[in-house]
Symmetry: C2
Subunit: 313 residues, 2 copies
DNA sequence: CTGAAAGCGCTTACAG
DNA sequence: CTGAAAGCGCTTACAG
């Protein structure tokens, strides 16, 4: 016990005892056993993080925010990539539950409902990211995807574009919410939201090029494109350059998320800037408060988005 | 013990006993304790992975390879981002050692030497990635960075460019090896390798634009640029477009790694294609063989690179 | 400020 | 095929 205390609360140990412990630690290269500590204390100091993808820079930024908040507090992470699959997500939850994490930080996908129930049954606190819940017994940090989609579309209409189209990949819930915002803005303007190209394929720059091509075939009079992601937008832009179509002269292009290249392309991309790092950081902070038994009174944090007009639309 | 066996080797249990166990598991929502299992068996089924960055798509691909190999074998991961810092790396090693991982998979940075010694002392197997070691008591999977830098530079010279420059960021060991290849190729061609812009800043598209600008100031007669990374190359390309400089007519641009956007930009990027996923997969496989007590006879695996000529150079 | 006792939930190794 | 015993390395809670 003296050793145990010397390691955790050196202050309450006499200097001579402490020094002997420190000497032994150094001599033996002693490393405390996390497994034993977890078993004895029933606190793992582990937080499970579930994201749909790591190749999407969005979630990498969110991870950085999480680690910057929880790392200094002494937590380690189990980082699970659900790959946008409900099965994979369920599997990860089972596996991670065995590690007895102190909490979960999840970016939901379709079919997350039963998952959240399982976690509730296991009595592990969960904070949802990118997803504003309304339930009083849940925690969430994000922004309104629908409102962001609406705002960007309104912007296009205000700039005078009359036949905007929407292209999207993956079709995860957040994408579909942005799409709902797009459609609402068009309907409110008395326009028909029929110019859409949707595909379940994963998003990529190459796919953006392909979808732009399909869009021009499907709706040659389309004069602006709302791309669900900046990578799609970049690919669409490249395809326009390849075809000699002026952007935004012949066709305007707008993206979503404001990934790093978007400020530098030519033309630079009009987009929605999203608080990705902040979502991670604040979700982590919220979890920390819950774990410390000091939950804040507001259990859903809306971090907002901003419209970032640039050259492309 | 019967329960323990019913869970791990159901075959050696009588059906009736097994069924009672299964019923209880389902009724209670029982989840085995990883901490207890680790403590009792002294096998954690955890592998620690150290990468310098997650915002660099290169390492995300490598992680995917690792997970595809080790996931089905029942391993979980501790993923550590060293952020190219020796201190951070040392800190992560200490922390992870407490979790008693069965092995380490590391992408080294400057100052990894003492780290590797500590891991050797702890008797944890380590496989190094992106780094071909020669030591008989080490394991590594990668390719020759220097040879890749040499090959790309030779290509530029063969295409007739006489005054190629080199731009690089971060200046990690792999970057410096590519640079050595660049310099060697120039010297062998009787040229002076004095056209370089190096910065310790992290690599990004925006930085590529800035470095291109600095390069044109420093060596206005530069007719080709070897960019140490595709993101730098993309930024350089954007900057050329902004200045109205024809690529490759006025200046050729080559990148490194063949990231997804590179095939789609206009002009598409000449680059070196690297086996990022494969490095992760095979490093994991090598570790698996070592853990299973069946180490292969060759302990260093050279996965090669390929030159991918496209439009930009 | 220090320490003896018990226990966290498993597995190993041995006996039957 | 089943089970009793001991122990993995810590922490909790209690006593002094």
């Amino acid at each position: 016990m003296t050793v145990s205390r010397a390691l955790k609360n050196p202050a309450q140990i006499l200097p001579e005892a402490r020094e002997r412990v420190e000497a032994a630690v150094a001599a033996l290269g002693y490393v405390p056993s996390h497994a034993a500590r977890t078993l004895a204390s029933s606190r793992s100091r582990l937080v499970a993080v579930l994201v749909p993808s790591l190749s999407n820079a969005v979630f990498v930024d969110t991870l950085a925010g999480i680690q910057d908040c929880l790392g200094p507090a002494g937590y380690q992470f189990l980082i699970g990539n659900t790959n946008y699959s409900a099965d994979k997500q369920a599997e990860l939850v089972s596996t991670y539950l065995a590690h007895a994490p102190d909490g979960f930080l999840v970016t939901g996908i379709d079919g997350s409902g039963t998952l959240l129930q399982r976690l509730a049954t296991a009595r592990v606190p969960v904070v949802r990211m990118y997803d504003l819940s309304r339930a009083a017994d849940e925690w969430s940090v994000g922004f309104s995807q629908q409102s962001a989609g609406f705002t960007l579309t309104r912007y296009l209409l205000e700039r005078g574009y009359r036949r905007p189209g929407f292209i999207a990949a993956q079709l995860d819930p957040r994408t579909m919410q942005r799409r709902a915002g797009f459609r609402r803005a068009l309907r409110e303007a008395g326009l028909n939201p029929d110019v859409e190209i949707l595909t379940k394929e994963p998003s990529s720059v190459g796919l953006g090029s392909a979808l732009l091509a399909r869009m021009l075939e499907h709706a040659p009079d389309c004069d602006a494109i709302f791309c669900n992601n900046d990578d799609l937008a970049l690919g669409a832009l490249f395809e326009c350059q390849r075809r000699g179509l002026a952007v935004p002269g012949r066709i305007a292009i707008a993206g979503f998320n404001d990934l790093p290249p978007s400020a530098w392309s030519r033309p630079s991309l009009t987009t929605i800037t999203t608080p990705r790092y902040e979502i991670g950081f604040q979700a982590a902070q919220l979890l920390l408060q819950v774990l410390d038994g000091q939950p804040p009174d507001r259990n859903h944090i809306d971090l907002r988005f901003t419209l970032t007009p640039r050259e492309s639309a």
